[in-house]
């Protein structure tokens, strides 16, 4: 279990706990007049090294689930343990630390900061973590090599193609060597060729044993994962392993 023994500050994590352990997790959006129950009691366990596709129609609660898993939002009820640590009741700065060190995000619309270079985008999580300069430099270069963009490091996001931007975003997600990588429609805004590149990267990550959750509409993407979780109306309606 090499993944658990990195320098990721997992002081609270239990080595043998599942990466994700959700019990009866609910999420209610209070819009004043109406209360919308986006998630109605989710039970989900994801072990280390699993590669999971989350599928379902839009509005089914996929993104809400991913936000909860990534500690971008807090559940309204139920229990969520990330790497064995109960997330409920943690302060905003502790949650920020968890996002920084244990979770990497890849978004559909890339979400690169437009005014800084690709290099600086990838460096951000390392800055937040407090990694020394020299180490940051080595790490960023290594990440760009990994996603095959070493020649585009000094460009601004606007000077990159969609596929390149998403690869920069993946490099950024991997910057602090997270246990868990979360992706929300990573190929949704890409043409099929770029989509394939990105998908290939994900496959490589999966082979390296990183735990990954990917939201997708694309059954071709889902087919490459090891497990498919189908959500409808805020509930898990199907959870099956993909035949290898």
């Amino acid at each position: 279990m090499a993944l658990f023994n990195g320098r990721n500050g997992k002081r609270h994590a239990e080595p043998d706990a599942p990466v994700i352990a959700m019990r009866g997790v609910r999420k209610v959006y209070d819009t004043g007049a109406v209360q919308v129950e986006a998630l109605k009691g989710i039970d989900l366990t994801v072990g280390a090294g699993d590669f999971v596709a989350i599928v379902g129609p839009s509005g089914s609660g996929k993104s809400t689930l991913l936000n909860l898993i990534g500690c971008l939002d807090t559940p309204s009820g139920g229990s969520y343990r990330l790497l064995g640590e109960e997330v409920e009741g943690l302060g905003p700065d502790r949650l920020a630390e968890i996002r920084n060190r244990r979770v990497g995000f890849v978004f559909q619309s890339f979400n690169l900061l437009p005014q800084i270079t690709a290099w600086e985008n990838v460096e951000l999580p390392l800055l937040f973590k407090g990694v020394p300069r020299r180490e940051r430099q080595e790490r960023v270069e290594q990440l760009f090599a990994q996603v095959g963009l070493s020649d585009r490091m000094r460009h601004r996001p606007t000077e990159l193609s969609g596929g390149q931007m998403q690869r920069v975003a993946i490099a950024r997600a991997l910057a602090c060597d997270p246990t868990l990588v979360l992706a929300d429609e990573p190929t949704g805004n890409l043409d099929s060729a770029s989509g394939k590149d990105v998908l290939h990267l994900f496959e490589e990550l999966g082979e390296q044993g990183r735990t990954m959750l990917v939201i997708t509409h694309d059954m071709a993407v889902a087919a490459r994962t090891r497990r498919v979780v189908r959500i409808a109306d805020g509930e898990i309606v199907e959870d099956r392993a993909v035949a290898a």
Binding site: L72, D73, F107, L113
Partner: protein, 418 residues
């Protein structure tokens, strides 16, 4: 200070100029700063002038006029007018330990003072040598005040007020020259240095002619003083000194020391305190106007920061998703607000100091009395501290409150923001 380093690092990466809007905000802050710098500087100049002016008549002095009794005492009826002799001061000097210095003063109005063909009507005062120091009448270079020998030998010497000198002599030197006072020749021994005098009880000092008390008594046959000028050892002892005067003079002239009508007292220590408070009040008022003007600039900064935060909400969400603590988001935004404020403040202070210096220079070039009374606007250390503290507070608050809103929401909500 790794955190500060990180914040400044993030600031350099995330801050973007907002073009015209930012220029206008900087201008608003600069304008507000200029207003407060000017108003406070004028207030400071006014205050200093007030304090100088109120001291012009003399510092810490008490002027005592004889009054009349309002109570019957020791067999004497009420309504008895009192008159003091110069010798009474010897008694006061001997028996009042709180007394530092004193002078009797005799005044005669409407005297002919002439030199050559020019004749003026002037007030003549017979005073003791201590009077010059008490009443802040400082001789110009080349002259001196009346001294003990003048007094002892009843010399016919005169110390001129500076305007009297100007009227008689123009720009020519007066010391050593002779003037006729009621047809009696006097030698001018000194001329008063020009001063700002804001209070008087017998006309302005610049218009007077002072001669030795002994000379005055001999020439005009006066036995009684017009008033006594006294000063306590320290300003705090002034009330004690006044009380002792009632006792000592009361014992001599048989009046009740509790009878406040027997002495008419002008306590300039008290007056100076009032004047000081008044000047301070004016300064606070001016400062308040300036602060309000600056506040409007501050609202501009808060406004632009709200816009910045709205504009960058999604980016803030991304940063938080990547693990930015709240302070890493808040810090650079506050620094940005402080930077705008500091830039505007620097421009405003620069322009203010330049204007103040220009005005101070203009005052040295003209002799307008209005300008003179206004006092030299002074950019003092106090003004600088006030302005810097105000600017800092405005910059911080205008950055902190809009940004706090941005980090208070869940990152997921910030990421959804369009």
């Amino acid at each position: 200070m790794l955190r500060l380093g990180l914040v400044s690092h993030l600031f350099r990466r995330t801050a973007r100029t907002q073009g015209k809007r930012m220029a206008m905000t900087v201008a608003a802050i600069a304008w507000g700063t200029l207003a407060i710098v000017l108003l406070l500087s004028f207030g400071e100049g006014l205050k200093r002038n007030f304090s100088r002016g109120s001291r012009g008549m003399g510092e810490g002095i008490v002027v005592v006029w004889p009054g009349s009794t309002s109570k019957s005492f020791a067999g004497f009826p009420q309504g008895r007018s009192l008159r003091f002799r110069p010798e009474d001061l010897d008694l006061v000097r001997a028996s009042v330990a709180e007394l530092e210095s004193a002078s009797a003063e005799m005044i005669r109005w409407g005297n002919n003072v002439s030199r050559g063909r020019r004749t003026l009507s002037k007030t003549i005062k017979g005073v003791e040598p201590t009077y010059g120091d008490l009443r802040n009448q400082i001789p110009q270079a080349g002259g001196r005040f009346l001294n003990e020998i003048d007094e002892r030998e009843k010399r016919r010497v005169a110390f001129l007020g500076n305007r009297t000198k100007d009227e008689l002599f123009g720009s020519a030197d007066a010391v050593g020259e002779t003037v006729l006072v009621n047809q009696v020749p006097f030698t001018v021994i000194g001329v008063m240095t020009r001063k700002i005098q804001m209070g008087n009880y017998s006309g302005m000092d610049q218009d007077h002619v002072l001669i030795p008390l002994s000379t005055f008594r001999t020439l005009y046959g006066r036995r009684y003083v017009s008033d006594l000028v006294v000063r306590a050892r320290t300003p705090e002892l002034t009330p004690v000194l006044k009380w002792r005067l009632y006792e000592v003079l009361g014992a001599r002239y048989r009046f009740d020391p509790e009878d406040r009508r027997t002495l008419q007292i002008w306590d300039t220590v008290e007056t100076q305190r009032v004047t000081r408070n008044m000047a301070l009040g004016i300064e606070i008022f001016l400062g308040l106007i300036g602060a309000l003007t600056l506040l409007i600039g501050g609202i501009g900064v808060a406004n632009i920061m709200y816009a910045v935060v709205r504009h960058r909400t999604r980016e803030i969400g991304v940063q938080m998703a990547l693990g930015a603590r709240r302070s890493y988001v808040l810090g650079p935004l506050v620094v940005e607000s402080l930077a705008i404020t500091a830039l505007g403040g620097a421009i405003g202070i620069g322009a203010g100091v330049a204007l103040v210096s220009a005005l101070a220079w203009a005052q040295t070039q003209t002799s307008s009395e209005a300008l003179e009374l206004l006092g030299a606007p002074t950019f003092s250390f106090g003004v600088a501290v006030t302005v810097v503290v105000l600017l800092g507070a405005i910059g911080f608050l205008a950055g902190y409150f809009p940004s706090r809103r941005a980090v208070a929401i869940q990152p997921a909500a910030a990421l959804r923001y369009e």
